[in-house]
């Protein structure tokens, strides 16, 4: 294999594993949008909150990792339910823009108050998986990326099954499709809205653990959330498979841009390329690769 090709393959592999980690977070976003038609601008802040809860619990004397994971899962489920009850439910039936601004408000609140209550300084989130890079063909990836990718794939399979087969998942799809008809069929719409937010909390808890472990936990962790938008726009806002594929594409594009363009423009294309791609998608195919072709346009 030539050297160029090896370089390319290494970039693609590392991009793909990062991309899967993006899709894990994007999944939380898609779950909420799919069930409630609400855009969650606070997804990155959810991840940050989860990461902060984990490191705070780990910081207590003698708390094992498993305890921290249980605590963060419960806390994020409670947070999801609470948020839906307090913020989103009063806004039912209001314009989309109001919900968007409310989630921006939630984002600002979490980003402001989270560090004050749970610790300002950057803290490490050690997972018992070692630091030795795992060699995978031409690329050598840190184990945390592999773990993140594996967690993402497991969650995708689980959620695909959940939405296709389980009674609750079918009910959620019905709610997403048409709230009034769903209600007429005896589905408690508000309860499923709350479930959707709680599920976003669960996904964010896992996202917080893997991303927090990779980047360290502080307020900057919330910036991961900004990458969610290119992923979901590309994949389609309401498609679980789309989040997976979108994440993969965004991760690879990012990695290729960083590998090939950075030497010419002096760095930072990683934070730039996904958004350019997103604007293009918005112009050409706003519903994304797998999204419902139902765009309200005037």
């Amino acid at each position: 294999m030539s050297e160029d090709l090896q370089f390319l393959l290494a970039l693609v592999l590392s991009g793909a594993s990062i991309g899967l980690m993006y899709s894990l977070i994007a999944l939380g976003f898609v779950l909420v949008y799919k069930a409630t038609d609400a855009i969650n601008f606070a997804q990155g802040e959810f991840v940050m909150l989860a990461g902060m809860i984990v490191v705070t619990v780990l910081g207590l004397e003698g708390a094992p990792l498993i305890a921290a994971i249980v605590v963060v899962l419960l806390a994020m489920i409670g947070f999801g339910f609470g948020l839906e009850r307090v913020v989103l439910r009063p806004l039912l039936g209001r314009p989309v823009v109001a919900v968007i601004m409310a989630t921006i408000g939630v984002a600002a609140m979490l980003r402001g108050l989270g560090p004050i209550t749970l610790g300002i300084e950057t803290r490490a989130l050690p997972l018992p998986i070692g630091d030795e890079p795992i060699v995978l063909g031409p690329a050598s990836l840190p184990p945390i990326q592999i773990l993140g990718a594996v967690v993402a794939i497991v969650f995708f399979i689980a959620f695909s099954w959940f939405f296709k087969k389980s009674r609750m998942g079918v009910a959620m799809r019905a709610v997403a499709d048409n709230q009034q008809v769903a209600q007429a069929m005896g589905i408690n719409v508000e309860r499923y809205f709350a479930f959707a937010w709680a599920m976003a909390g669960v996904v964010s808890a896992l996202g917080g653990i893997v991303w927090g472990s990779m980047l360290g936990v502080d307020v900057q962790l919330a910036l991961v959330g900004l990458k969610v938008f290119p992923v979901v726009i590309l994949g389609g806002l309401d498609s679980i498979g789309g989040a997976l594929v979108g994440g993969l594409i965004i991760g690879i594009v990012e990695s290729l841009a960083a590998g090939y363009l950075d030497p010419y423009v002096g760095g930072g294309t990683k934070d730039f390329a996904p958004y350019v791609l997103m604007i293009l998608v918005l112009m050409i195919r706003p519903y994304g690769i797998f999204g419902r072709r139902q765009i309200e346009r005037v």
Partner: protein, 355 residues
């Protein structure tokens, strides 16, 4: 503003849309003008003048965003970036070509309007949530571009030092001088917006917001008015950015990050969407709140936090309170402080004979 009327006696549309609803309103304006032009600059300490100056700048930006979000019903999370476009345009013109402020200011505004139209272009095809995401991308791309292109950003640390504006040969160096400079533009922006929203264009904006399909049917060219709203709104934002640049004497992209866009959204939500007076209330509130928090924390917070933590705690608290207020007003009082003000007024309209 402070007058009371005994009832609604308007019989024509002209009377309903008049700038002064009653003759006495003119006297209110005269009184306000006297207060702001004569009394305040003479009686108020320099520190408070500097706060007023910040409020004036914020009013310009908040009015612009309110035209887009409050009146036209589009959303933009990219207004911080539009401000930076205006700021860097003006800074480059002022430093490289030595142009005076009365050229750089409109130039900054027009450049921001141009960029705003480009970023607003997706609003022609998509709306609501997609538009929010598109403007977010616009914000991030503009931030990145300014930060990475030395030709725009002036190289080191992406900041350009700008000389103070000068008028009639006097350099506006003190807060007192800048007070009149900024007051002029704030008043200009307020009057322009008041006239805009009662004109054909302003009513077309409101029609697009309330029912876009109905608006199209009665002959409003939606695409044109949406883009016009983006252009006007980002023109205001650009001017606001230029004013910040002249006020601080430096153009720096860190003053115009995503968080600023959220600050301005907070202003118009707290103040009142779709209202000029609301934009002013919001600008005042959001500018004063961090100062109040800082004073409060310096007194009370020192019991809980060390000196080193304090800066982080204050900025975090500020953001948290803004977020909480955005949520609170959206849920409880979507028309914001303006609505509260109107409630107070209508209470006193019949006071003390309420029944």
């Amino acid at each position: 503003m402070f007058h009371r009327e005994a009832g609604v006696f308007k019989t024509t549309y002209g009377a309903d849309m008049a700038l002064y609803p009653l003759p006495i309103a003119k006297w209110t304006v005269v009184a306000l003008a006297a207060l702001f032009v004569v009394i305040i600059p003479l009686a108020v300490h320099e520190y408070y003048l500097s706060i007023l100056n910040l409020i004036f700048i914020a009013i310009v930006g908040a009015l612009g965003l309110n035209i887009l979000v409050g009146y036209t019903g589009q959303i933009s999370i990219g207004h911080g970036a539009f401000m930076s476009v205006g700021a860097y345009t003006a800074a480059n013109l002022a430093v490289r070509l030595g142009l005076p402020f009365w050229i750089t200011l409109p130039a900054g505004g027009l450049m921001a309007a141009l960029i705003g139209v480009i970023v607003g272009m997706p609003s022609l095809r998509i709306k609501g949530l997609y538009l929010a995401i598109a403007t977010l991308a616009g914000q991030l791309i503009i931030e990145w571009t300014i930060n990475h292109v030395p030709a725009i950003s002036g190289g080191a640390q992406a900041s350009i030092e700008v000389p103070r504006p000068s008028l009639f040969g006097i350099s506006l160096n003190t807060q007192g001088h800048l007070y009149f400079f900024l007051l002029f533009f704030a008043v200009l922006a307020i009057v322009a917006t008041l006239n805009l929203v009662r004109s054909r264009i302003g009513r077309a904006f409101v029609a697009v917001r309330d029912q876009d399909i109905a608006a199209e049917i009665i002959g409003i060219n939606i695409y044109r008015y949406k883009l016009l709203a983006f252009a006007i709104s980002s023109f205001y934002a650009g001017v606001c950015g230029v004013l910040y640049t002249y006020y601080f004497g430096i153009a720096n992209y860190e003053q115009f990050q995503l968080i600023v866009s959220i600050d301005y959204l907070a202003m118009i939500i707290i103040g009142g969407l779709g209202s000029v007076l609301g934009s002013i209330f919001g600008a005042i509130f959001v500018t004063l709140l961090p100062i109040a928090i800082r004073i409060f924390m310096e007194d009370v917070g020192s019991l809980f936090f060390t000196q080193g933590e304090m800066a982080n705690v204050i900025s975090g608290l500020r953001l948290g309170v803004f977020g909480g207020l955005i949520i609170f007003f959206l849920i409880v009082e979507p028309e914001g402080l303006n609505r509260l003000w109107r409630n107070i007024r209508s209470y006193f309209r019949v006071w003390p004979f309420s029944y």
